[in-house]
């Protein structure tokens, strides 16, 4: 092998190694970045349709199931499921035991506020039971009003809750809850 051939072979080898290295450099995976935030879609308003109820379920049954689910998911602290039950623009009102006087009402306006109330006011109490009882359902077309006694933990509010629901795309969703309707006991 002549010196020229040797030089050529050495040159080829070096060139090949350099090219492979440079090519690899160009394909180095990008610096790891944060996983993109799972896009949290605006919570669907599913209401009773989130409960997989049989087709023959009546309006009264569907409404009852929605309120029962609300109670169960409060206990389980299932915030995302809870928010599916509420309609856009929904409201929660604390009537402060003075139903006739609305000036002292406290309101959580729209779903962000309702979510906040669950997370920061309701869940910290870690209720073991949150079940509506004595439901009195009044249907008016696609609207319904329900008065109920709610027991959250040891706190029982006889007739203290009024739920207002509406039927949206065949699903019953919650529009409004007014609680502490019962008069203050001395």
């Amino acid at each position: 092998m002549t010196q020229h051939q040797l030089r050529t072979r050495l040159h080829r080898t070096l060139t090949t190694v350099t090219l492979v290295w440079l090519t690899a450099a160009c394909t180095v995976p990008p610096t790891p970045t944060a996983e993109p935030t799972p896009i949290v879609q605006e919570s669907h308003v599913l209401g009773s349709c989130a409960l997989a109820l049989p087709a023959e379920t009546t309006d009264e049954e569907a409404i009852t199931k929605v309120l029962q689910a609300e109670g169960e998911w409060v206990v389980q602290q299932e915030i995302d499921l809870l928010m599916q039950l509420w309609n856009r623009g929904a409201t929660i009102v604390d009537a402060k035991h003075t139903e006739a006087d609305t000036t002292d009402d406290q309101q959580w306006l729209d779903k962000d506020a309702i979510r906040h109330r669950y997370v920061r006011t309701v869940f910290p109490g870690a209720p073991a039971v949150a079940a509506p009882k004595d439901l009195a359902i009044t249907l008016d077309g696609v609207h319904a009003t329900v008065t109920a006694t709610t027991q959250i933990g040891n706190e029982v509010s006889p007739g203290g809750d009024r739920w207002q629901l509406s039927k949206v795309e065949n699903c019953w969703v919650i529009d409004r809850l007014t609680y502490n309707l019962e008069s203050q006991q001395n």
Binding site: T15, T16, Q106
Partner: protein
């Protein structure tokens, strides 16, 4: 499955070989050198961003001087209002929150010491900044920034107002940062009649800032809270708050990077 670098090299060599004549003379080497020169020239562009990241960990590879944060209505779980914001100051616990400017647009601020020691005892914040900003037209805004690495410093403001006998309504409000980005916060409209018959009214707007997407408490969270009197309607007052916020936060086009 692992890759075999030797095999890869050989394969690459086989691909390269045919393009190089067996007895390549000086004239045929020219394109070869050209390719090499181009690749060598490209090398800094390939490695520079990674080198930059290693030298300045945690700083997003932004071409602007802005710092990018994750903002949300709550720190327990992500809400659908979570968004990325760029800021022209540091709002994280790796920095002193005093770096936030005292001059914010038309607003000029002064530090106000927290006299209520119960606040510090109860919240045990890692950082606590309280400032009063005013602008020439007379309006004022209190800015509170509370930083911590546990949930203890982050009592929801409505709970505190409730405990102090205030009546309030609560909602959320989007502050448009630009045509595409909005920053959502929770607002509180609170009022209280004192024993002397004076009626106090507060409008509060707040959100949480996280230094990265993992949102770990241990990485630190900052509560950004504005409080003012009522100027017209709640919406008009929130417009005032928005003017302040838009001087500190901007729409963020890129995602923040993970801290290394």
């Amino acid at each position: 499955m692992t890759t075999n670098p030797t095999t890869n090299t050989e394969l690459s060599g086989q691909r390269v070989q045919p393009t190089v004549p067996a007895e390549a003379g000086p004239t045929t080497k020219l394109p070869h050198y050209f390719v090499l020169a181009v690749l060598v020239f490209a090398l800094p562009f390939v490695y520079l961003p990674q080198l930059q990241m290693r030298l300045t960990p945690g700083v997003p590879p932004s071409t602007t001087a802005d710092h990018i944060y994750v903002a949300d209505l709550d720190f327990w779980r992500r809400t659908e209002r979570e968004t990325h914001v760029a800021a022209n100051a540091y709002f994280d616990l790796a920095h002193d929150l005093n770096n936030v400017p005292l001059d914010v647009g038309q607003w000029h601020g002064v530090d106000v010491e927290e006299n209520n020691q119960e606040v510090m005892i109860l919240l045990e914040p890692e950082q606590y900044i309280q400032r009063l900003y005013q602008r020439e037209s007379g309006e004022y805004i209190w800015l509170s920034m509370i930083g911590g690495r546990s949930s203890q410093p982050f009592h929801a403001p409505d709970i505190c107002y409730d405990a102090d006998g205030w009546q309030y309504n609560l909602g959320s409000y989007p502050i448009a940062l630009d045509e595409e980005h909005s920053l959502f916060g929770l607002w509180l409209e609170a009022n209280k009649t004192t024993e002397s018959g004076e009626t106090l009214e507060h409008v509060v707007f707040y959100f949480y800032l996280f230094p990265n997407e993992t949102r770990k408490l241990s990485d630190g969270i900052v509560l950004f809270k504005l409080t003012s009197g009522r100027h017209g309607t709640v919406e008009e007052t929130l417009t005032l708050h928005a003017d302040f916020i838009r001087n500190l936060f901007f729409g963020a086009p890129t995602l923040p990077t993970q801290p290394s």
